[in-house]
Structure formats: structure tokens, C-alpha cells
């Protein structure tokens, strides 16, 4: 008998809704992320990307709707799902009074892993992200890009099957960014699933095989990258879908000379 779970998608969201006061932040979102895909979630500021991803990873309770990871409902089997997911949250702090090595170790131990395994993997991850020289430095003294990388290492230490990364490339320098992309591609090739949110359309077009465009808490388009962008670039298609582009060069007084 085939394992039902092996057929279910990596992440399946249906009817997901979240309201903050008067604002409907996420409005009945449906999304299917196939296994082994490199999935991009794009949308303007305040579109509901972070809110959606927080609900998908068990960090923010939805008002209604369901989320399942590899066929397991996230909100009824929280701990089991969290073992499968690795999360990089945008805009949350880290325990930055720990050294890089301590922080990654902390994340591993919290996941309930053996100390020896944690030590081995922490060393691997720090080396992978070129952070071994800074392993004894407090994370608060890291640059923005190093902080992103150490947070990514924390998300990876328990060897998740699905990686959910909110703005992983923000303030990361081009070289580190390319290295991170290689690591993520390797992860996908080995059968893992990566979901990233980003503003950088070029990057998403080159990097992701699947993409969803989200605005005002709704999914405007979703599918393989080629399906969504059609004949134009992803950026043009995005602007077309989302709207709000203005023509003109701004007021007279802003033009010097």
C-alpha cells in the first residue's frame, strides 16, 4: 500500500484567513507547494506574506483555514510539524547575547537533538556559511548579513524537510547570497522543499521553479514560474497584477537645475 503522506504536497494551505482589528491581513488564501519545489512568494509591502508564512509555520494562529505540511495538519500536530519545518522569520530578534556557536547549539538542543549530533552539525553549518571565524563572537556584534546567515543555520540544524524563509536575501552581500542560493538549490535537489518570500523579482525568476503573487491578503496568481510570468518578465507581470505603478518624474522642485 503506498504511503499516503508521500503523495501529499510539501505545504498545502486552504482558506487561510487572519484579521488584525479592522484589517483583513490574509483573506482566504489557498496555496499548494509541491514537494521538491523551490517556491517563491512575492508581493508588495503589507501584502500578507509574513502573516501567511507565520501561520503556515505554527507561529501565528489563523482565524480560520487549514495548513498541512507533508499531509500533517500543522495546528493539530504542532510539535510533529515543527520537526519537519525550518523557519527563518523576518523582523524577529535572535538571542543575540549568545555567540554564533552557542545560538546554533541552542536551536539544536531546543529541538530535542543529542548533544553530540548538535555539536557536529553546528560546526558543519558554521563552516558552510563561512561563519567559523566568527563562531565565538556575540551575535549582537554580527553584521546584518551574518545575522541572516546564523538565523538560517538555526533553521537548518534539525535537518527539516521543508524550509520556510522570510526575506532570506535582504541585506546579504552578493557573494554570501550566491552561496546561500547554492546551498538552497542543493537542498531542493536532495528532495527538500524551499519556500522563500522576496521583493527581488529578478532573483525569484532565476531561482524559483514555482511562484505565487500575493497582494492585499489574496493570491493573485500561482503556478510554475513560467506559467505565471507568461511571455513577459516576472517583474512586469507582477506590476501588471498588483498595479499601483505611477508615471511621471515627481514634482518640479525635486528636479535639481
Amino acid at each position: 500500500m503506498p504511503d499516503v503522506n508521500s503523495l501529499s504536497p510539501a505545504l498545502e494551505i486552504s482558506g487561510l484567513t487572519k484579521r488584525f482589528g479592522d484589517k483583513l491581513a490574509v483573506n482566504s488564501v489557498d496555496l499548494v507547494v509541491p514537494r521538491g519545489s523551490f517556491f517563491g512568494l512575492v508581493g508588495p509591502n503589507g501584502a500578507g506574506k509574513t502573516t501567511t508564512l507565520s501561520m503556515a509555520t505554527g507561529l501565528l494562529r489563523p482565524d480560520s483555514g487549514t495548513v498541512s505540511v507533508h499531509g500533517t495538519d500543522v495546528w493539530t500536530h504542532l510539535v510533529e510539524s515543527k520537526r519537519r519545518i525550518g523557519v527563518l522569520s523576518d523582523g524577529v530578534r535572535l538571542f543575540d547575547r549568545l555567540t554564533g556557536l552557542q545560538l546554533v547549539t541552542y536551536a539544536g538542543l531546543l529541538s530535542g537533538m543529542e548533544r553530540t549530533v548538535v555539536a557536529e552539525r553546528a560546526a558543519d553549518l558554521l563552516e558552510l556559511f563561512d561563519l567559523d571565524a566568527a563562531s565565538g563572537t556575540l551575535v549582537v556584534d554580527y553584521s546584518a548579513g551574518m545575522t541572516k546567515k546564523i538565523a538560517l543555520a538555526c533553521a537548518l540544524i534539525h535537518a527539516p524537510q521543508v524550509l520556510v524563509l522570510d526575506e532570506p536575501f535582504e541585506s546579504v552581500d552578493p557573494v554570501s547570497g550566491a552561496n546561500i542560493r547554492d546551498i538552497l538549490h542543493g537542498f531542493v535537489e536532495s528532495g527538500g522543499t524551499v519556500i522563500v518570500s522576496s521583493h527581488a523579482m529578478d532573483l525569484v525568476q532565476r531561482m524559483c521553479d514555482h511562484v505565487a503573487v500575493i497582494a492585499d491578503g489574496r493570491v493573485l496568481a500561482s503556478g510554475t514560474t513560467d506559467e505565471v510570468r507568461g511571455a513577459s518578465t516576472l517583474e512586469d507581470r507582477f506590476v501588471e497584477l498588483v498595479g499601483g505603478r505611477r508615471r511621471g518624474k515627481g514634482p518640479e522642485w525635486l528636479r535639481i537645475s
Binding site: G58, R61, K82, L98, T99, L101, T105, L109, G136
Partner: protein, 523 residues
């Protein structure tokens, strides 16, 4: 520009209050408390006008000096600096430094504490209303004194922004706070001898204080009343020089802070290895304990909550021991136990949104609770025992040791239980990581105080069994009751702790995401 910045201050305050009605309630209650204190001060000062001149002068000088000292130093001890208009945030705007100094001074005076202090300082003229000329001088001196209060606090805030952004200094401060904690017993003994002759010594102390920057300005009217214009002139000069000096130092510090905003990139020394993570067991509970203990040693905000530990027992002693009766010392152990037990009350709030790592990894609420309790126990249990034994030793009442230890340990464990329960459910408004630990948000401290007060009451009720046993034991001199109190304290405290951790952990498991939302709102 000045008016604009002051409007900004009130706009920020109003916006903060409209975001959270509880904060508004807290600010109103705080204002009422302040007005009550002001009323007491005015009545007291008016009454003084009928008292002998020496008493009036002593009171005004010492009171005034305490006021200035309080404004400048208290922010170091508690959280008190109102940074509603944070100079660092104004750094990008082209505001002349003198304008900024003036605007920040005025906005400092126009806050609730500023207005109440100013009115109280001006009210010192009531003491001399029978001789109007001196009264007018007193009014002027009061104004200078009030200004010195506000400028002093601003100066210290600007200076500590520099100091507290260096990690080395922060760590040094932690040590500075822990040393008095250990030396508490002997220190109290030494101070006690001094305060026994307090009443006769006070006028002399006032005379000395009158020559210090914090006391000089308040001594001027008294000097005139004694017919001593020469001394009055010199005291007045010292007072004015203090104000001018403070303004200059503040201006300098502010200028530096604006030129190099406090994003201190001082790269700390690198540390080898895993530190506490190697010491504690490699389980989630052990990991939380290692992390929490690392923070106790590295994060100045934790040092902040420890500082009251040596302070409050000192006050207990001051009130009871001044009469020469050392039995008041016996309160020290239980009071320290209360403070240490409640010291993890805001633990999750201190984590801020970093707490999301606990949610992401799916660590159980119970492991989270135990880890935090274990970390604080590492130093809280020995400290409580040592201080209790020391207090018994100093006051030479060994027959009370068992009962007292029972109460102290019982209260400590019960405090852990309550903290574990409450911090698993509520997030409080506390300084964020890396923020000035002396910073306070309007009303934020007050909300915390209200809930603390409720928890203290609960603590007192829950610790009744061992307290009653110990008290009856003290009254009847029955040693057995003391030992019973010790057993009861440890047993009841432990049971409560287990219950507190379980319920708090269960709350965390079921409401973790909601707690994270609260934390994000505090951010």
C-alpha cells in the same frame, strides 16, 4: 522649533496612550499618586514655617538634596528616564544643539514628574512666607533646583547612553551589583552604627550637604534666615554653577551622541567554546537554563532587576534598625527571597521576539519553565540561604534560624511558581534587548507594578502555612515549630513550584502564538 519638539513629545505620548488604554489608566493613577505626594509636600512645607529655623533649614536642604540625587541617580537604580523624545532619533534632523538642549529641558519639565517636582521645589518658599523677601529668594532657588533635577537626569541619560553601549562596562556593572549582594550582611552592620545617632547628627549632615552641588541651592534661604548673607551668596553660586556645569556636560554628551549615534560597533572579545551550554545537560531544559544563565551574566537588564535585591533589605534595615533593635534584620532573608523569586517575572518579556525560536523549535512549555527556574536557582538559592544565615548571625538569634529559613525558602519557591505561571501567559512592557536598561515607557512600569502587586498578594497568601508556623514558633519559643516551618516551607514551596511550572508550561504550549503576538506588540 522648541515649541515644535515639545508638541512632538506630547503627540508621541498621546499616541502611545491611545494604543493601550491600560497604559492610560496607569499614567492617570501615576499622576494621582504624584499629586498626592505634592499635596503632602506642600502641607509639610507650610507646617515647617512655624517650626524652628534650624529644623526648617535641615529639612529643606536634605529634602532638596535627595530630590536632585533621586532625579540623577534613581534612573540608574530603577527604570525612570523618560525617553519619549529620544535624541538618537533626532540625529538625522538639522536641529541646532542649543535648540535641542532647550527643547529637551522644557519637555522634561512638562512631564508629570517634572511638573510635580517643580511645584514642590517652588513650594519651599512657603517655609519662609513670614519673611517675604526670603520667600522670594526661596522661589528663585526652588526654580534653579527644579531645573537642576531635570537637567541632571538628562545629563545622566546622555552619559549612560555612551557608557552602557560598551559591553565591557555592562559586564562590570553586573559585577558591581552582585558584590553588594554578597556583602549585604557586613555592610548593614557597619551602617547601623552610623545611623543610631541619626537624630542628633542630621543638622550636621545638612551643613555638610549644603556645601555639595546637590544641596547648595536649597541652603540659600536658610542662610538668609540666619542672617548670613555671605554663606548664602557662596551657596547660591555653587548651586548656579552646578546647573550651568550640568547643562554644559549634558550638551557635550548630547553633541557626541548625535555625532556618533549609539549603534556601538565595539566588537566584543571572542569566546571559545560553549560556555554554560557545556555545563548543563544537553536536553531542552538544560539548554534553556544555560541560555538564561548566560543572559543573567551578560544582559544589563537582568542586572537591573537584581539591583533592588541589596537595596530593599538595606531600606528594611534603615527603618527598623535605626531604633537600635537589630531584630528587624530578620526580615532581610524573606524579603530577598521575594525579590529573587519574582526576578524571573518578566523573563519572557525580556526575550522579546527572540522567544519565537522557542516556538519554532517546538520546545515544550514545561522545559522552557524549568530551564528558567533552574538558571535563577543557581545563584538565588545559595544567596537566600547565606543572607538568612547571615541575618541570624548578626542579630544573634540562632533559635530562629530554622523557622526563618523555612519562610525564606518557602517564599522563594512560591515566587518561582508564581513567576513561572504569570510569565507564561503575559508579556509586559520592558526595555527591549540592547535598549538602555534605564529606559521606561510611559505607564509601562506602572502596569507591571500593578500585576506585581497582585502577585505579591498571592505570594503572601500561598506562603501562609510556613509563615504562621514560624511566627507561632518565634512567639512561643518552641523550636519544634521552627523545624516544622522549615519542612513545610520546602514541601509546600516545591509542590507549588511543580504546579506553577506545569500550569505555566501548559499555558505556554496552548497559547504560545498569542504570547508571541503580545511580545511583537511590545517591540
Amino acid at each position: 522649533m522648541v515649541a515644535h519638539l515639545i508638541r512632538l513629545r506630547f503627540r508621541l505620548l498621546a499616541n502611545a496612550l491611545s494604543r493601550s488604554p491600560w497604559q492610560a489608566v496607569a499614567v492617570i493613577l501615576g499622576t494621582m499618586y504624584g499629586l498626592f505626594m505634592l499635596m503632602l509636600a506642600v502641607v509639610g512645607l507650610f507646617t515647617l514655617s512655624f517650626a524652628p529655623d534650624t529644623l526648617a533649614r535641615t529639612t529643606v536642604v536634605l529634602g532638596g538634596a535627595l530630590l536632585i540625587l533621586g532625579w540623577t541617580v534613581l534612573p540608574l537604580l530603577s527604570s525612570g528616564i523618560d525617553e519619549t523624545v529620544d535624541p538618537a532619533k533626532l540625529a538625522t534632523f538639522p536641529i541646532p544643539i542649543n535648540t535641542l538642549v532647550l527643547a529637551l529641558t522644557v519637555s522634561g519639565i512638562l512631564g508629570v514628574p517634572g511638573i510635580i517636582t517643580s511645584l514642590a521645589a517652588l513650594a519651599t518658599s512657603l517655609v519662609w512666607w513670614q519673611t517675604p523677601l526670603i520667600g522670594i529668594v526661596a522661589l528663585l532657588c526652588g526654580a534653579i533646583g527644579a531645573l537642576t533635577c531635570v537637567v541632571g537626569s538628562r545629563m545622566l541619560a546622555a552619559l549612560t547612553v555612551r557608557i552602557s553601549s560598551g559591553r565591557r562596562a555592562r559586564e562590570a556593572k553586573t559585577v558591581l551589583i552582585l558584590i553588594p549582594l554578597i556583602l549585604l550582611g557586613p555592610a548593614i552592620l557597619a551602617v547601623s552604627a552610623l545611623f543610631r545617632e541619626l537624630r542628633t547628627v542630621l543638622p550636621t549632615i545638612a551643613d555638610v550637604v549644603a556645601w555639595t552641588p546637590i544641596g547648595a541651592i536649597w541652603a540659600v534661604p536658610g542662610d538668609l534666615a540666619f542672617g548670613n548673607p555671605g554663606a548664602a551668596a557662596i551657596h547660591g553660586l555653587i548651586g548656579v554653577a552646578t546647573l550651568v556645569g550640568s547643562i554644559l556636560v549634558w550638551r557635550w554628551a548630547l553633541d557626541r551622541a548625535l555625532e556618533r549615534p549609539a549603534t556601538a560597533t565595539s566588537v566584543g572579545a571572542t569566546r571559545r567554546g560553549l560556555g554554560w551550554f557545556r555545563v548543563f545537560s544537553g536536553t531542552p531544559t538544560g539548554a534553556v537554563a544555560a541560555r538564561a544563565l548566560t543572559y543573567w551574566l551578560r544582559d544589563p537588564r537582568y542586572a537591573q532587576s537584581l539591583i533592588s535585591v541589596p537595596l530593599v533589605p538595606a531600606l528594611v534595615f534603615f527603618y527598623t534598625g535605626a531604633s537600635g533593635d537589630l531584630s528587624g534584620l530578620l526580615f532581610v532573608g524573606p524579603v530577598v527571597a521575594v525579590l529573587l523569586g519574582m526576578s524571573i517575572y518578566t523573563d519572557v518579556s525580556y526575550d522579546n521576539t527572540a522567544f519565537s525560536l522557542h516556538l519554532q523549535t517546538g520546545v515544550s512549555g514545561r522545559a522552557d519553565r524549568w530551564g528558567r527556574v533552574i538558571a535563577v536557582s543557581v545563584f538565588a538559592v545559595p544567596s537566600t540561604i547565606i543572607i538568612t544565615v547571615a541575618s541570624v548571625w548578626v542579630s544573634d538569634s540562632w533559635e530562629r534560624l530554622a523557622g526563618l529559613l523555612g519562610v525564606s525558602l518557602g517564599v522563594l519557591l512560591t515566587g518561582f511558581a508564581l513567576s513561572s505561571l504569570v510569565s507564561g501567559r503575559f508579556a509586559f512592557s520592558v526595555p527591549a534587548p540592547g535598549e538602555n536598561p534605564f529606559k521606561s515607557r510611559p505607564g509601562g512600569g506602572f502596569t507591571l507594578m500593578l500585576s506585581m502587586f497582585a502577585s505579591w498578594t498571592a505570594l503572601a497568601v500561598l506562603a501562609l502555612p510556613e509563615m504562621i508556623l514560624a511566627l507561632i514558633g518565634f512567639a512561643t519559643g518552641n523550636a519544634l515549630l521552627g523545624w516544622l516551618a522549615l519542612g513545610t516551607g520546602i514541601l509546600v514551596g516545591s509542590v507549588l513550584l511543580i504546579v506553577g511550572v506545569r500550569v505555566g508550561g501548559a499555558l505556554l504550549d496552548s497559547r504560545g502564538p498569542e504570547l508571541l503576538v503580545q511580545l511583537q506588540r511590545q517591540k
